[in-house]
């Protein structure tokens, strides 16, 4: 605006560059995560002589990284102050459809994989549509219903059978290496970078944060809230389907009860990574560290024969820890 106003007021100058604060830098949640990760590594090394060598660490990633794909879109969803507890069921349904397309319908495996991703996308899209078209319903209820529905459909298709016999090349997803690096690790890094850039460096990501802080104000600011939610939920479905591909590849077969309880692991990883359940806050770098914390913890405890049920307790406790710490900080203030 020109003219009169400039005459009327003496203008104040505003700073447009953010100063770097060392204190702020070291007060970040991610440093705590790094410490925890180091703690987990030290503990594992002390407990098991087999833990700390390159091969062992490398191969461990092949086991725990598959579900981590879902953590990234889940982080987006949680930043938008929503939730999706149907992801485990989406993994099951898309993998079951893939196996059926290959084994029963006789489709080529390549086509089956594409169908798997499409099914995942459809599951996510349905979640997104229900949540945006019926804003009266909370995401908890919608995804709770679809969680039962998707797994229910998987049971209808395969009953309690397993379906496998995939072609040999399909095993590459779960077990392959490229230049000695597990294929899944490479895919993981690519996905992490893509989602990280999407969240932190694009206008789309900025809008996701805006919605999480205040969806009404976002709408009034011209943000297409519904479309953004739809895209993110669909992405969650696609990533769940990608998980299904890697999981089925690693296991060699699939069955309707596969990926049971993944939603908790995924939500726990995101929350531990510093994604606030109150919305609007979080960075993907934190979730990456959290994925490795939980993954290596799981692997290390497995090495010393601690039953997986103990791990359930630990993951539950970690989730609570992650959501309680910020609350306590808030209360102190």
């Amino acid at each position: 605006m020109a003219s009169k106003m400039e005459e009327t007021y003496v203008h104040r100058k505003l700073e447009a560059h953010k100063p770097f604060s060392t204190k702020q830098f070291f007060l970040q949640w991610e440093w705590l995560l790094v410490l925890i990760l180091i703690g987990v590594m030290v503990l594992n090394t002390l407990l098991s002589p087999y833990f700390l060598n390159v091969t062992s660490l490398r191969d461990a990633t092949m086991i725990f990284l598959d579900k981590s794909f879902i953590v990234f879109p889940m982080a987006f969803i949680m930043i938008m102050r929503e939730i999706d507890i149907s992801v485990g069921s989406t993994v099951a349904l898309s993998s079951v459809v893939m196996a059926t397309a290959y084994n029963v319908l006789g489709m080529p495996m390549e086509v089956a994989v594409i169908i798997c991703l499409l099914v995942g996308a459809l599951c996510g899209l349905l979640n997104g549509l229900l949540i945006t078209k019926f804003p009266e319903l909370s995401a908890v209820i919608v995804t709770l219903a679809t969680m039962i529905l998707y797994r229910g459909i998987a049971y209808i298709i395969l009953e309690d059978q397993a379906s496998g016999n995939f072609p040999e090349w399909f095993g590459f997803f779960g077990w392959g290496y490229i230049f000695g690096v597990p294929f899944i690790l490479i895919v993981f890094v690519i996905i992490a970078v893509v989602f990280g850039l999407l969240l932190h460096k694009t206008s789309f990501g900025r809008r996701v944060f805006a919605i999480g802080h205040n969806d009404v104000a976002s709408k009034f600011s011209g943000v297409n809230v519904n479309r953004t939610k739809l895209i993110v939920y669909t992405l969650a479905g696609v990533m769940a389907a990608l998980t299904a591909v890697f999981l089925a590849s690693r296991m060699g077969s699939t069955r309707p009860n596969i990926a049971n309880g993944y939603e908790l692991d995924v939500i726990a990883m995101a929350a531990l990574g510093g994604i606030s359940t109150a919305g609007g806050k979080g960075r993907l770098i934190g979730t990456v560290i959290a994925i490795f914390i939980i993954g290596y913890l799981q692997y290390g405890l497995g090495l010393i024969n601690i039953p997986s049920q103990t791990l359930m307790i630990i993951i539950g406790a970690l989730l609570l820890f992650a959501v309680i710490v910020p609350k306590v900080k808030e209360m102190r203030r």
Binding site: I85, L137, I141, A145, Y155, I156, Q309, K327
Partner: protein, 344 residues
């Protein structure tokens, strides 16, 4: 300018259709009852073994546990919360009690039941504390505790089952014995209903639960403690889950690590079918019990209709989805009718 003139020149191009869906809202319980009757008749026509005394009593005992849990879940949902941990709480209490009675065969069934309730109350208190004092979202708190309780169940049991032969007869008798010709489970369920009717309808605390769910802001101004209400509903839910744990183990004569996995979903389904509002504030005991019976009948009828048991989950999911969507449509219809009534 006078208003009357404006009124006369008003174009009436606005469609003034009243929503018929809104009527459903007024007759939900009756509608549900009619639906159940039709379903029962349809199933009976297909398979005459459905309405036998044996099958009916079987259905009633099966539904008893579901409806007990649904009563608690209703109160949680009324406060705009949710509890996904009840299946795990049930398993934990069932396992601990089963172990105890298998080691102390002289334990009175009453003591076993009280023990189960006690364990459940402890579990519920933890969740209530997380939700009310630490402000953790109910979905997050109960998801985490679900895992913790389930993990504890496995830890306590060391991965082993407790089977019927390890349990004293008096314990198994909790679910199989009869009192005045009626199965004890059904009697216990009736006691729970009676308690709930009194608590919900005739005590201050019971009404405060609805007040907090209906309008948390007003409740605050009225001086109702939201924290207290949260603690109460989750503790009650825990107590009922603990009770159900004992009943479950007694009925199925086995306690396992994965007992009642995912049972919370059926319970929530029963509540939603029974018309409990997900937005909080509304939910009737009669509706919830009918909802539980509908689910129970469906579960019982599917095998009789030669429907594969693997269809059960899919059907359940569809029913929940349909029920919540119907609820929304009814509500929208009511709102639209109210708007139409407003003269502009």
């Amino acid at each position: 300018m006078s208003t009357s003139m404006m009124d006369e020149t008003l174009p009436t191009n606005i469609e003034k259709k009243e929503s018929k869906l809104a009527k459903i809202g007024q007759f939900r319980e009756i509608g549900l009852l009619v639906f159940i009757v039709i379903l029962v008749i349809a199933v009976q026509l297909r398979n005459s073994s459905f309405l036998t005394l044996e099958n009916i009593s079987d259905m009633a005992t099966n539904t008893a546990i579901l409806s007990i849990l649904a009563v608690g879940m209703m109160l949680v949902l009324v406060t705009r919360g949710i509890d996904l941990s009840i299946g795990a709480t049930l398993a934990l209490s069932g396992m601990i009690v089963a172990q105890f009675v298998s080691n102390h065969s002289g334990t009175s069934p009453i003591v076993a039941i009280l023990m189960g309730i006690g364990i459940g109350i402890l579990c519920g208190l933890v969740i209530g504390g997380l939700v009310s004092y630490l402000g953790v979202l109910p979905i997050i708190a109960t998801l985490a505790m679900m895992n913790i309780f389930r993990g504890l169940t496995y830890m306590v049991s060391n991965g082993k089952w407790i089977s019927s032969y390890q349990m004293p007869e008096s314990f198994v008798g909790i679910a199989t014995s009869k009192l005045l010709g009626v199965n004890t489970l059904i009697i216990i369920a009736l006691i729970v209903y009676a308690f709930a009717i009194y608590f919900i309808g005739h005590t201050r605390t019971g009404r405060q639960i609805y007040a907090v769910g209906s309008n948390p802001e007003s409740a605050k101004v009225t001086g109702i403690s939201e924290k207290k209400v949260f603690i109460i509903v989750y503790t009650l839910m825990g107590g009922l889950s603990g009770l159900s744990g004992v009943l479950w183990v007694s009925k199925f004569a086995s306690a396992q690590g994965d007992t009642a996995t995912g049972y919370e979903l059926s319970v929530i389904a029963a509540c939603i079918l029974g018309g409990v509002s997900i937005a909080g504030g509304a939910g009737k005991l009669s509706g919830v019990i009918l909802g539980a019976f509908l689910i129970g009948i469906l579960n019982n009828a599917l095998p009789l209709l030669n429907v594969s048991p693997f269809w059960q989950k899919g059907i359940e999911g569809s029913i929940i989805l349909a029920a919540v969507l119907l609820n929304v449509m009814v509500k929208r219809g009511v709102e639209r009718n109210n708007l139409l009534k407003r003269r502009v």
